[in-house]
């Protein structure tokens, strides 16, 4: 194949001229109120500061001018954003031929699915946190499992590419095999992602955070299933050894991706929506300049990581872990990932205490 540059080298320092993918939470409003929502979305979300459709189209124009390859729409629930389909059409007209949408699936009725299929180039990621109603609904709310299954049935036979997104938690870790079978039965690819303590996820992190044994099982499970997607969220598990997990297997925040919040604020990724990581706002700044010049991006995310991991021989594989999790748990980036699989064994540092916000899961 090609003489591929080491990805870390290509994206360090000045980094890429533009992100490969931009994640864009178009609204914080959502018809559901999941216990671990990374954006604290819900039906009650205040949308007054969110970008208007005209402003959103302007952002699409900026992303096209910067030669961003892909937009990944999320939220909140993107289908409750007024004019969302018009925004998709505008993005296609600007050359984005594949549009990824993270959705809870509950609003995917027949007419909407037909509209999306007619649009073409749509890639849906449907969230489902268990292969049975009990496991899923404990996290995502009563009746959610049935609604998502209904959407999957309605998508059957369409040309819309789809994944089932499964957040791997302590309470549903036993569902991996069943989720894989469920995805396959519905023509979808399974995408397993990491629970992170951002948004409401911070409040349930202590209760839902997988155990070290579960992480070890997941690593072995993923090693045996290279077709399962992970959204590059489990690269910290590369410290277990074996083949690196697929994808980039590295943190892409501010290097290969970034996040646009509903009000136009820009952050390194969806899990770093803290004021200290705010790079700027697209109502005030041009996207390309912000990506290139942001002090937050350049100083905190594009430099060679320092700190406790610098001398660890597993660093080349795990990259020191997820900055978002480190910051959410301990308020700093120069520590091992709180779920570092070598932390205890090698004495690299004490596992940080959870933040005061951590509390038991309140499902419902």
């Amino acid at each position: 194949m090609f003489p591929a540059s080491p990805i870390a080298q290509a994206t360090r320092g000045a980094g890429l001229s533009a992100p490969i993918t931009v994640t864009w939470e178009v609204t914080n409003r959502c018809n559901l109120r999941c216990a671990h929502c990374l954006s604290s979305s819900g039906p009650e979300a205040d949308t007054r500061a969110e970008l208007s459709l005209a402003e959103a189209k302007g952002v699409v124009d900026q992303l096209a001018a910067a030669q961003v390859f892909q937009i990944h729409f999320g939220g909140g629930e993107p289908f409750v954003y007024p004019g969302f389909l018009e925004l998709l059409r505008h993005a296609q007209a600007r050359g984005f031929c594949c549009l990824c949408i993270s959705t809870n699936g509950a609003l995917l009725h027949d007419a909407r699915i037909a509209e999306l299929e007619a649009l073409g180039g749509i890639y849906l990621q449907l969230s489902l946190d268990g292969a049975e109603a009990d496991a899923c609904d404990a996290i995502r709310g009563p009746g959610t499992f049935r609604k998502v299954l209904g959407a999957l049935e309605r998508l059957r036979g369409t040309s819309i590419v789809r994944t089932l997104n499964f957040v791997y938690c302590r309470s549903n870790a036993h569902e991996l095999d069943a989720m894989e079978a469920l995805a396959e039965a519905h023509g979808a690819t399974l995408r397993v992602t990491r629970l992170k303590p951002s948004g409401r996820g911070a409040a349930v992190y202590a209760a839902l955070r997988p155990t070290q044994a579960q992480l070890a099982h997941l690593h072995a499970w993923l090693q045996a299933r290279p077709a399962v997607l992970t959204g590059d969220t489990f690269f910290h598990l590369n410290a277990f050894g074996g083949n690196p997990l697929g994808g980039f297997s590295a943190c892409g925040a501010a290097r290969m991706t970034c996040l646009i919040a509903p009000n136009g604020d820009v952050f390194p990724c969806a899990f770093t929506q803290s004021p200290v990581f705010r790079a700027g706002n697209l109502r005030e700044q041009d996207f390309a300049a912000l990506w290139r010049d942001s002090a937050v991006f350049n100083r905190a995310f594009r430099q060679e990581p320092k700190g406790a991991c610098a001398s660890c021989d597993a660093f080349a594989g795990c990259g020191g872990g997820c900055p978002a999790v480190k910051h959410a748990v301990a308020g700093r980036l120069d520590i091992p990932d709180p779920d570092c699989v070598l932390d205890t064994a090698r004495g690299l540092g004490r596992r940080p205490a959870l933040s005061a916000a951590a509390q038991p899961l309140c499902a419902g």
């Binding site: 090609f2 003489p3 540059s5 290509a10 000045a14 590419v161």
Partner: protein, 122 residues
Amino acid sequence: MASALSIAPGCAGPTVSAAAQAQRSAVEPGRCYGFGRGFTFRREAFGGILYHYEGVKPDPRVTFVDNGFLIDLLETVRERPKLPLDALADAVQAHFALSPAERERIDAFFATLIERGALVPR
């Protein structure tokens, strides 16, 4: 531009190897090629990125190309749709007095893109 190719790995001698012949034969003589559905690219400081919108494992969505000269070639393919691909490679080889090893690298690049559907016959 030619110096960029000199960094390329490859150990072909002064004659064209069997592998190089196979790579060259992947390009249909006299045929024009364009980009396949869902493929695009952009230039970067280290070379460029080839992106496949429909890439799903094991087919990669993103490929880093660490050679600006190869990105120059892709731009030429995009800008000159009526130029046969083998004619482009011949012209580049003659213009820059490329060695057989360097030419082999271009042929391998095109062969890989054709195999992946990034370049398709027009």
